[in-house]
């Protein structure tokens, strides 16, 4: 539903075909070749005509919406029936066979007890009657061998009556370390069976987290000094018994939504072995589960889009009286619905709430949008496969890396997956956080659909060109005059924001001497690319004159559009991202955000963006090699500016 509404408004303004009468769109397929030239010729002089047309369009709106909604619904129905139709009896049988195979494998595996990835990696020479035999047999990664074996060849560690000998290699050290952990675990387990609890677990620990700015005395907890430990005695007893499956196991069974989870993990009590570091491992694994089905859905979705482009099959739809945007919406809706249904099912299964589903929806949209663009560009199914894999790899990274830091820093919030992790831990999420997390993702998805729908026309769909050129064509399709350069620059903001946030999330853990310079260069490179790529696309398609003045005007406009769009990233301030010292401040201060004291700094970014975009535009007018040169120059100037701002701010 959101998708359809999102499609109405931007389309009718920017799509060259959209502001025609729906009835006359029948000829859209045949005359689109002339659209470029025609639009450029008659648009700019007739400014006042635009207004009249907009008013007329507004009056027709309810009827148009009804007609278009009908078209979208028809395409959706068609897509669904065709999808079901392609699943013939043979495919269904194959699917059932695959499921049977899988369940039989799972059954055999369950019967045999399962095997870990590191089974038998380290070989320990140990006598049959040694007390160390037991911990070794209990640990999958260790395998017992006769102690006579040659150290370094047949065994990695030898256990004798008077000690341990490890092979003189990294493997020997690793084996010894694994053995140490195994013995420690074994001891805890044995202690768990002792009757004398005081002697077996002489130390009880209660772990608390406190805000440094406002700490409370450890001994005066919420429960009073004794109450906290009253339960702890029981905790320690449980600890011994459950030691085997507990803290040090290879992969602890996810234990999610355990009661009393604070924002920063549980307050652990019990034996020291029971302390869990505040890392949301289980929730992360479950959050990852939400991403898995998307890879299947986008494969099918990519196929159906590319199918339209094979053997000019989509031609029939194109010449029908339907807007391209409606075709895209109609073909996308069933897949979006499928994703939401699967997400809801997973949320139900793992205990996620409405928030988890709402956080995954924008990710689903972004997966679909990138796949749509990829399928519009790909030349063959093979290429589509690689594009799809690239898309899901990148998006998974984007969703996953920041979520790792869920408990640590507000940077984590740039990924909607963080919302899922928090939701699984029963941490409430504020509307502002939701908006911040998902806003850029929604916007990116929208812009990508816009980009792809722009080339959903005959001359682009049925031609074979390398993906980068197709991409330039798609950018060019969004341009229609000088001012549109500014518009496209502004459209790039969500991508710039996502890219910079991802860079921030990846770099912030590194030492500041490395991360700050890297960040400054990265910011410059990302922003310059965003400001100049569409300008280059316009030049590559001979849309603009090659004069120096034109280039400078285009550059200034691009810089202006970017500057205006960039102000929207001020939302970052609301969740405190610029407080991530000093990287976050460097990222956003260079954009003039969070800097109020110096009025000059508000104008400076505008001047900078105009100048650097002008540099790259000057290069772009003379072909790809000069464009690269101009871009490098622009990045260099931008980096220098960034460095100056950061130094000036101290």
């Amino acid at each position: 539903m959101t998708r359809r509404e999102g499609n109405e408004d931007p389309d009718s303004r920017s799509d060259p075909n959209a502001d025609r009468d729906p009835g006359s769109a029948a000829d859209a397929g045949s005359d689109t070749d002339h659209d470029h030239d025609g639009d450029r010729g008659d648009r700019s002089p007739v400014r006042s005509g635009r207004l009249a047309r907009a008013v007329a369009g507004l009056r027709r709106l309810p009827g148009v919406v009804r007609i278009r909604a009908g078209a979208v619904a028809r395409i959706t129905r068609w897509e669904v029936t065709r999808g079901v139709g392609s699943v013939d009896r043979r495919t269904a049988v194959l699917g059932v066979v695959a499921l049977l195979l899988a369940s039989s494998v799972a059954f055999v595996a369950a019967a045999s007890g399962g095997v870990a990835l590191d089974t038998g990696v380290y070989r320990v020479g140990v006598p049959q009657d040694s007390p160390y035999r037991e911990p070794i047999d209990e640990t999958p990664s260790l395998v017992a061998r006769p102690p006579s074996g040659e150290l370094g060849e047949e065994i990695d560690v030898r256990v004798t009556a008077d000690g341990f000998a490890a092979a003189d290699a990294r493997k020997g050290q690793a084996a010894l370390s694994a053995l140490r952990n195994a013995v420690r675990r074994h001891n805890d387990r044995v202690m768990g069976t002792e009757d004398n609890r005081t002697a077996a677990f002489p130390v009880l620990v209660r772990l608390r987290y406190a805000d440094r700015a406002d700490p409370t005395l450890p001994s005066r907890g919420t429960n009073g000094s004794d109450g906290g430990f009253a339960a702890a005695g029981g905790g320690a007893d449980g600890a011994g018994g459950a030691g085997g499956a507990g803290s040090d196991g290879p992969l602890p069974v996810p234990n999610v939504g355990g009661g009393g989870a604070g924002f920063f993990g549980q307050e652990a009590t019990g034996s020291p072995a029971n302390i869990r570091p505040p890392f949301p491992f289980a929730s992360l694994v479950l959050a990852f589960l939400f991403l898995v089905p998307m890879n299947f859905v986008i494969q099918a979705y990519g196929s159906t889009i590319l199918n339209e482009r094979v053997n000019r099959r989509g031609q029939l739809l194109l010449v029908a009286p339907i807007q391209p945007g409606d075709i895209v919406a109609g073909k996308t809706l069933p897949y979006l619905a499928a994703m939401i249904a699967v997400t809801a099912a997973i949320a139900l299964a793992v205990g996620g709430g409405v928030v988890a589903v709402a956080a995954v929806v924008p990710l689903s949209l972004l997966f679909l949008a990138s796949t749509f663009v990829g399928a519009m560009f790909a030349r063959s199914f093979k290429e589509l496969t690689f594009v799809t894999v690239a898309v899901s790899t990148f998006l998974t990274t984007y969703a996953f890396v920041p979520a790792v830091f869920t408990d640590v820093t507000p940077i984590a919030l740039i990924s909607p997956l963080t919302l899922v992790v928090r939701d699984l831990k029963d941490v409430p999420i504020e509307p502002l956080q939701y908006a911040f997390s998902t806003g850029p993702v929604y916007l990116c998805a929208g812009v990508l659909f816009l980009l792809g729908a722009g080339v959903y026309r005959e001359e682009d769909m049925f031609t074979q060109r390398p993906v980068p050129l197709k991409f330039l064509d798609a950018l060019d399709a969004r341009l229609s005059g000088r001012w549109s350069v500014a518009f496209v620059s502004a459209l790039s903001i969500p991508f710039v924001f996502v890219a910079e946030a991802l860079a921030l999330a990846t770099l912030f853990a590194l030492p500041i001497g490395v991360s700050l310079p890297a960040m400054l260069v990265l910011i410059a490179a990302i922003e310059e690319l965003a400001k100049s790529l569409h300008v280059y696309a316009g030049y590559a398609n001979a849309r603009f004159g090659t004069g120096i003045r034109t280039a400078l005007v285009l550059g200034s406009l691009s810089g202006l559009g970017f500057f205006v769009g960039e102000k929207a990233t001020a939302v970052a301030q609301l969740v405190g991202l610029q407080n991530v010292e000093p990287l976050g401040r460097a990222t956003f201060a260079t954009a003039g955000i969070g800097v109020v004291e110096a009025a000059g700094l508000l104008i400076a970014p505008l001047a900078l963006h105009a100048v650097t975009a002008g540099l790259s535009a000057l290069g772009a007018r003379k072909g790809s090699r000069w464009y690269l040169t101009g871009l490098v120059a622009a990045v260099a100037v931008h980096t220098a500016y960034n460095a100056a701002v950061v130094v000036a701010l101290g």
Binding site: S112, V121, V143, V203, P272, I275, A300, K382, F386, A390
Partner: protein
């Protein structure tokens, strides 16, 4: 064989023309880097050995702090600072001059420790892990003093050694990942290659040439399955350049080749039985996911076999498993051959 080689070369030419193989290599490198980043990142916040000396001390107070300090002083990577009162320790905690505060008290023959760690800091995880390790050592010491009251005596621990936490990960996760990704991609190529020819109707064109259907399928399998061991060889070479010793490269490559033939054969079979690309890819990836996911639960599973070969801990069972993969590959290939003979190419329409 000649015709098959020609057909295989045609496949590879298309792949290199689209530069998809470069994209494939880039994706694999990215996935490997990504998983390494995750592990390195996680380990560096987990591993008590890292960047120990530069960190602030841990504040210790309470009436049992003498024992605790004794144990803490023996711990590498953890400095302790004693405070007379809780209030004094908390002041330093608020100023950020101590990482954590441990209040340790004797009560009823036991020692009660309250550990206070800072909220929402990147280092908190590291601090908590270090405190846990220290307190476990403390627990061992205290147990040692109460041995008379215990029925069983805890085993002495092997000495603590400096061991890279990445060692196990490299062999049990990274190497299998790098060796299997090319296999999955090859299978996908086989599916795409066949469904595409069927959808575009170009299969008819090839069939006008004097080649049989089985030669066409063979050529596609040869190209797709041949790519996997070649890529695997590149990864093994890069790993050894990086100083990671990988044992038994020949057997590893043989395993990859066998799995690649089996998986591409499976892909080709799926594509022939269900020529619509949507359902073919879906069935293929579902099948691969289930097969490999399920196999990790079985003894002799591919990931574990590769890990054991690479880390040089192979047993007779490992070699038997490799033999079983080769047998499975041959079995799948024979199956595909029979399927191709049975299928009427004229009926291959979507």
């Amino acid at each position: 064989m000649g015709k098959r080689a020609v057909l295989a070369r045609r496949e590879l030419r298309v792949l290199s023309a689209e530069k998809t193989i470069l994209l494939a290599l880039a994706i694999q490198l990215f996935i490997a880097a990504f998983s390494s980043f995750l592990v390195v990142g996680l380990v560096s916040v987990y591993n008590p050995g890292t960047e120990a000396a530069v960190l602030e001390p841990v504040g210790v107070t309470g009436n049992a702090s003498d024992d605790l300090l004794e144990t803490l002083d023996e711990r590498p990577g953890l400095r302790a600072r004693e405070f007379a009162t809780e209030e004094a320790a908390m002041e330093e905690f608020a100023e950020g001059r101590v990482r954590a505060v441990l209040v340790s008290e004797h009560r009823d023959d036991r020692i009660f420790v309250t550990a206070l760690a800072p909220e929402s800091e990147l280092r908190t995880t590291l601090t908590v892990v270090q405190v846990r390790e220290a307190l476990r050592a403390y627990e061992r010491d205290q147990r040692g003093e109460r041995l008379a009251f215990l029925d069983a005596r805890p085993l002495d621990l092997p000495p603590q050694v400096e061991s890279s936490p990445y060692y196990g990960f490299t062999y049990t996760v990274l190497v299998p990942l790098l060796l299997f990704l090319p296999v999955f991609i090859s299978g996908s190529i086989a599916v795409d290659s066949l469904t595409e020819e069927i959808e575009r109707g170009t299969l008819e064109l090839i069939r006008v040439a004097p080649v049989s259907m089985s030669e066409i399928v063979d050529g596609k399998l040869l190209a797709a399955a041949g790519l996997a061991p070649a890529q695997a060889a590149i990864w093994l070479g890069l790993l050894s350049l990086n100083g990671t010793r990988v044992a038994r490269p020949v057997l590893l490559l043989a395993t990859v080749a066998a799995l690649a033939l089996a998986i591409t054969g499976m892909g080709a079979g799926v594509a022939l039985l269900s020529p619509d690309r949507r359902s073919a890819q879906f069935l293929y990836s579902l099948g691969v996911l289930l097969l490999f996911g399920g196999a990790t639960l079985l003894p002799g599973d591919p990931a574990n076999t590769v890990a054991l070969l690479a880390v040089d801990s192979a047993t007779t069972g490992t070699y038997l498993a490799v033999g079983a993969y080769v047998a499975a590959a041959v079995g799948v290939y024979v199956g595909v051959r029979r399927l191709v003979d049975r299928i009427d190419p004229e009926e291959l329409e979507v």
